[in-house]
Symmetry: C2
Subunit: 341 residues, 2 copies
Amino acid sequence: MRVSDIGEFGLIELLSREFGLPYPPQPGARPRPGLLVDLGDDAVVTARRDGALVWTTDTMVAGVHFLPERTSWESVGWKALAVNVSDIAAMGATPHLALVTLCLPADHLVDDALALYRGLRQAAEAYGVMLGGGDIVRAPVFAITVALSGWADVPALGQPRVLTRSAARLGDVVAVTGNLGDSAAGLQLLLDGDAFTDEAHRLLRDAHERPQPAVECGKAAVRAGVHCGIDISDGLVQDLGHIARASNVGIRIDAARLPLSDALVSIYPGRAAGLALTGGEDYQLALVAPPPVMEALIAAAPCRVTVIGEVVHYEEPRVAVVDETGREIPLSRGGWDHLST
Amino acid sequence: MRVSDIGEFGLIELLSREFGLPYPPQPGARPRPGLLVDLGDDAVVTARRDGALVWTTDTMVAGVHFLPERTSWESVGWKALAVNVSDIAAMGATPHLALVTLCLPADHLVDDALALYRGLRQAAEAYGVMLGGGDIVRAPVFAITVALSGWADVPALGQPRVLTRSAARLGDVVAVTGNLGDSAAGLQLLLDGDAFTDEAHRLLRDAHERPQPAVECGKAAVRAGVHCGIDISDGLVQDLGHIARASNVGIRIDAARLPLSDALVSIYPGRAAGLALTGGEDYQLALVAPPPVMEALIAAAPCRVTVIGEVVHYEEPRVAVVDETGREIPLSRGGWDHLST
């Protein structure tokens, strides 16, 4: 059996079993001793007397996660750190220290490595991340792995104040930060070899190449009393599916309420909602909370927060998207899986 | 200019400059605000009120760091974690939490991935490491990256008690844990397609495939008052060169005092000392301290510690190896560089 036969999530499930850990975790499952949040969320959380540490890692491989001939190395550097910052944002925590590993072919250009580091540094400065070294190895293909830690508040003697996937409850509303679908549209334009001669096209490209993780919004959500959140990396429907399963609830999304940018609607009028639902790599946050808590967040948040749906009871944990008449829209594909072919 | 033209250390120097950090750090240079130990040591160290965090990461690429057809996937898993544990040991700290990233070709066998995880788990259990998740991505080549954090003691209001590369002083003695050269010999046997029919051959292979980082010895060194140490990954001479430059001292090694296993001497009688000096991947510790401190460590350490040389004054920071008559032995190559061709 090859890994492409079972896909990323199938493999994670098998490997987790090797450690005696069910994956995805059962709703209500307790974390292992020493962990406050275990595998199966955006990050794992460990406790210290004066705070909680939040840990995550993410990799980008040339030809798989980006096309070197269609993007700048500076953007690759920015994005490699930003996608990790997004996981810390999805916990409502503050990013802190990153370790960077580069796999470099021997004929990789030094100037390209320097451009990559410029992008890394720009993202590090934008998000207050300390770059704490790493490793450089020779490899037949370029890859960059960032491991990032962050801090979460821990009230005296209490649990850390973080956003988990398992805290959605019946009657909660579901909201997202920013706009959705721009990144997937930008990727489409890059693949099409677009010339990016106007502002709208460039905006979509930048959404794909220079995602702006919603760190301050995640922290504002924690302060407002939100307990449930995830970042939108694989696509809204797939990522909300993680919340549905971890919380054992149903989630209903109103397609008409999806926040879509003018640029997206003008360039892809027919596909905008589809890109927003399943496109992926938005690196916005999906947040779930009781209506009064969400209203408090919307009033206080440093970014736009749009309610797009509700937590409901279905026969099984799943995500449904409905149109303006309340009729469910069939989705051919809920996101993307890194290993399936 | 391609990265193979300037090598790993040349590239690190350029990339560090991009961040305004000299590399290797100047002797006496202060770490950046928020760091207790900055780039250029085995790990970086950040402070918390109740301890210090120690961070490191290391990658193994198929075909570069190991040959899948000559080793077991279980051993690859063990080693991927162990080499990181060794960096934490080299700080005198306790390993804690690991994030694991797998780059997998689509046709990678699921059974191989499971065997890899068995090896990872064995090493995690042996060294008390919590596996905190990670990332799995598709890539044209197999690679495994482990990011590992550890804890170091911090006396009240004081600096963390860790082993750095910059703390060697004139008059100190230089010692190493365990035996040297076994791993390089084991690699040679693996490359030669040896059948490993006797105990000595298997011992050398195991030294290469299942290194046993000296965590308890590193902690004992800190308790005994040792301040200077490094793990031997690139080869004794090259790694002591890092200490020589970071501490601005000379180091003289007596070849006759190198700790060599019976297995190594019996199988490679003519090459044993050379393998011990420059072979690499020993994952033992080199420790530097005043003679009374080293004597106290030798008496208390849970592993064998052998004095092999002294810190001396040379015209420039460098490592010299002398024979029994005190004559310097020329070394053709001090270690290996991951990017040079």
